[in-house]
Amino acid sequence: MPSPRVPDAHGGAAAEESEAVAAQEGAAQGNETSAERDSASGQQGAADVNRGGPPAQQHTVTEQGATSAQGGSAGRATPDTAHAGQVVVATRPGPALLSFSAVPALLAFVIAGVFLLNSGDISGPEATYPIVLGVAVLIVGAVNLVRDLLTAARAEQAQDGDGESAAGLSTQAVLRLIAFVVVLIAALLLLEPLGFFPAMVVMTIGALLCFDVRSPLVIAAATALIVGTSYLIFVRFLLVPFPPGFLGLT
């Protein structure tokens, strides 16, 4: 990983695989906003970390996920290390849960926005249809954004913990998730240079590490078994022609 921050990893993927540009931007933006808001509410977050409550989840997550991808350990971050790598100007306070619950609506906004901005190149009724849809997404998205934020804020006020979003995930779970997302994106970027199955070895080892499998022997055996069996099934039996990487391995 060239950079320790998750949003950059997203950005890199977007450059490489421009297929889901809009989704990417949305995801990156979502992460960024949550990181921002979090730093803003650093104090509260610090208090929340030990409770493992959702308000604290997001903020330790962004940096920690990346560190664990580098170092391979998904431990629990102290609030201090969590903020060490980031300089963000606090704009207004808002807990992580609040910004995380806004992610789907923001994603929809970004996708619809990108589509609407690019609709100028199309002519005829084939342009009208997506424009109407885009506007509809913006409208419903706006309603959702407001209501999601209100619901999250209300849950926050009530100190209700998991509220509607984050589905009651523990801090550890969120860390694991972020770490594995980084692994997935790394595997995706390695597909072309390394070849399909070598990249899948990376993915499998990453997954096992995220599941807290620590014994090298178990990891090696499980990886060999999973990737080996898949190789036999897909390449030898189903004859799927995977392109080879620079090592000549498929």
């Binding site: 889901a20 789907p104 997506p130 779970a173 597909l191 993915m203 898949s230 799927v240």
Partner: protein, 509 residues
């Protein structure tokens, strides 16, 4: 009912190769049903890239047998360890797990098995009778009627999925919007491809599906993983004991004829409505059975009626979900969305014509549901112990293995690494949506129905010379609009009511 076409469907099904796919699919269905996180739609989407080469009837038979098998398979972990293997089995766990706590797990599985078998057969037979007339009705639909039907199915399905109308609607609209990527339907001009060659044919549907269903599910399994020993004791019995329990369970099921019948009716009716699928149906069936039971206080404490209400309904909905899928080209459930995708890939345009051009294959699939449901009895007894063992597969090995299969499948559709990226990105999108309580199925519906909706809209606009009045120009279409209006009014009222309830709950908190 046209007997000629049914009998040619039967001929197709009774080929040795078809029967092999049916049994293979059923066993595979048992396994994926048992494994939490691997659902029917996941598995069907995963297998799809490799099933393209099969004859149409074989791939259809394979998918519906997996569907039937998984519906029962999901009940096994629900009963044994209180972890539903399928969404619809969540209701089975309410009463089924109580049996296990009493040490009568085998009896509960026996009841579930019998109920699933009956439900599947009844649902299949009803569909066998209904498919012909409904198919003919659908054939009389022109472009404008089809457009309204798609609109109706889309709105109903999107709003019923997930916890609130607004969320489902937003995701569904997003799906429709994403479906416009690629060459335009009439002129073929590029839309939103951003110069990416791979996007010219649109966002590849199967990788997107694999991502939304399977990849996001695996990510959620990872998040939900509890560290430490989660060893569950699942006792395995001898075949003889298994047979005895199966017999007792079957008798117990047959004693509750009323509950079985009720559950079947609910399953068939709700299965016919596009997009509802099996999970919501079993909840409704359970609450209905509870309300109409003489002993409602026993529900949740391990009553056979609870297990039957859920399982019979689940299974009878399978056949019914095929009706909108085959007659209108609107998926009856997430799994049926995969069926539609497989039809597309084999060059068959889903819609009313399918029953005319591929009637035999369609009927073969429906007969396969019936046969697979019957086979649940012997195979389910034979495989009960191995199935219980599968519940022990730890998710730490399951997740990388399934993901590897996901990515290989995404690649194999058209040998494109780009599609692996599509699968991963849609997996992340699905994860973000699901963690925030947004359903992903409307997105799939939007992606499938989008091109169809746009094509029919543009065609009817052309036919009517861009006059809005054309959309109200026939009796059929007026009836459909009326249905649409009723559905919208109902949904709005429903969402108001749940909103009020929500606010009240929050106030009391």
């Amino acid at each position: 009912m046209n007997l000629d076409i049914v009998s040619s469907g039967l001929d197709l099904l009774l080929q040795p190769e078809s029967l092999l796919w049916l049994i293979g699919g059923l066993i595979l269905g048992f396994v994926v049903g048992v494994l939490p996180g691997l659902s029917t739609s996941n598995t069907a989407a995963l297998l799809l890239p490799f099933a393209i080469g099969l004859p149409t009837e074989s791939s259809l038979i394979l998918i519906v047998s997996i569907y039937a098998g998984a519906q029962f398979g999901g009940a096994v972990p629900a009963i044994l360890v209180n972890v539903p293997g399928e969404a619809g089995s969540a209701v089975t766990a309410l009463d089924g797990y109580q049996y296990t706590r009493r040490g009568e797990a085998a009896l509960a599985i026996g009841i579930a098995r019998m109920a699933a078998a009956i439900g599947g057969v009844v649902g299949g037979v009803v569909v066998l009778v209904l498919l012909g007339p409904l198919g003919e009705l659908a054939l009389s639909f022109g472009a404008r009627e089809l457009f309204v039907v798609i609109l109706l199915g889309f709105v109903v399905a999107s709003s019923l999925m997930g916890e609130s109308v607004r969320k489902g609607l937003m995701v569904g609209l997003l799906g429709l919007l994403l479906a416009t990527v690629g060459g335009g339907p009439t002129t073929g001009q590029e839309r939103f491809t951003f110069g990416v060659l791979e996007l010219y044919e649109g966002i590849s549907f199967i990788p997107a599906l694999v991502g939304l269903f399977a990849v996001s599910e695996m990510l959620i399994l990872l998040a939900r993983h509890r560290h430490g020993p989660t060893q569950v004791d699942v006792d395995t019995r001898s075949l003889r004991a298994e047979l005895r329990a199966a017999w007792r369970g079957a008798r117990e099921t047959l004693r509750h004829k009323k509950t079985v019948g009720q559950a079947n009716v609910v399953g068939v009716i709700l299965g016919l409505i596009p997009g509802i699928g099996t999970s919501i149906a079993s909840f409704i069936s359970y609450s209905l059975a509870k309300r109409r039971s003489k002993t409602p206080e026993k529900f949740g404490k391990g009553t056979p009626e609870g297990v039957i209400a859920s399982e019979a309904c689940d299974s009878s909905a399978i056949g019914a979900t095929m009706v909108p899928t085959l007659t209108l080209g609107i998926p009856g459930s997430a799994t049926m969305a995969v069926v539609l995708a497989s039809l597309y890939l084999q060059g068959i345009q889903p819609g009313p014509q399918v029953l005319v051009s591929h009637g035999a294959e369609a009927y073969a699939a429906i007969l396969a549901v019936i046969l697979a449901s019957i086979l649940i009895m012997p195979l389910g007894v034979l495989l009960a112990s191995p199935m219980a063992m599968v519940t022990k597969v730890p998710s730490k090995y399951l997740v990388p293995a399934v993901l590897l299969a996901c990515f290989a499948g995404a690649f194999a559709v058209r040998y494109s690494l780009f599609d692996v990226g599509v699968a991963i990105m849609f997996g992340l999108l699905g994860l973000l949506l699901r963690l925030n309580g947004y359903p992903v199925i409307p997105l799939v519906l939007g992606l499938v129905l989008g091109p169809l909706a746009e094509e029919n809209l543009l065609r009817s606009l052309e036919l009517g010379n861009y006059d809005i009045g054309y959309f109200f120009g026939s009796t059929t279409v007026l009836v459909l609009w009326a249905l649409f209006a009723v559905a919208v009014v109902y949904l709005v009222r429903q969402s108001r009511r749940s909103k009020v309830k929500q606010v009240k709950q929050e106030e009391t908190v």
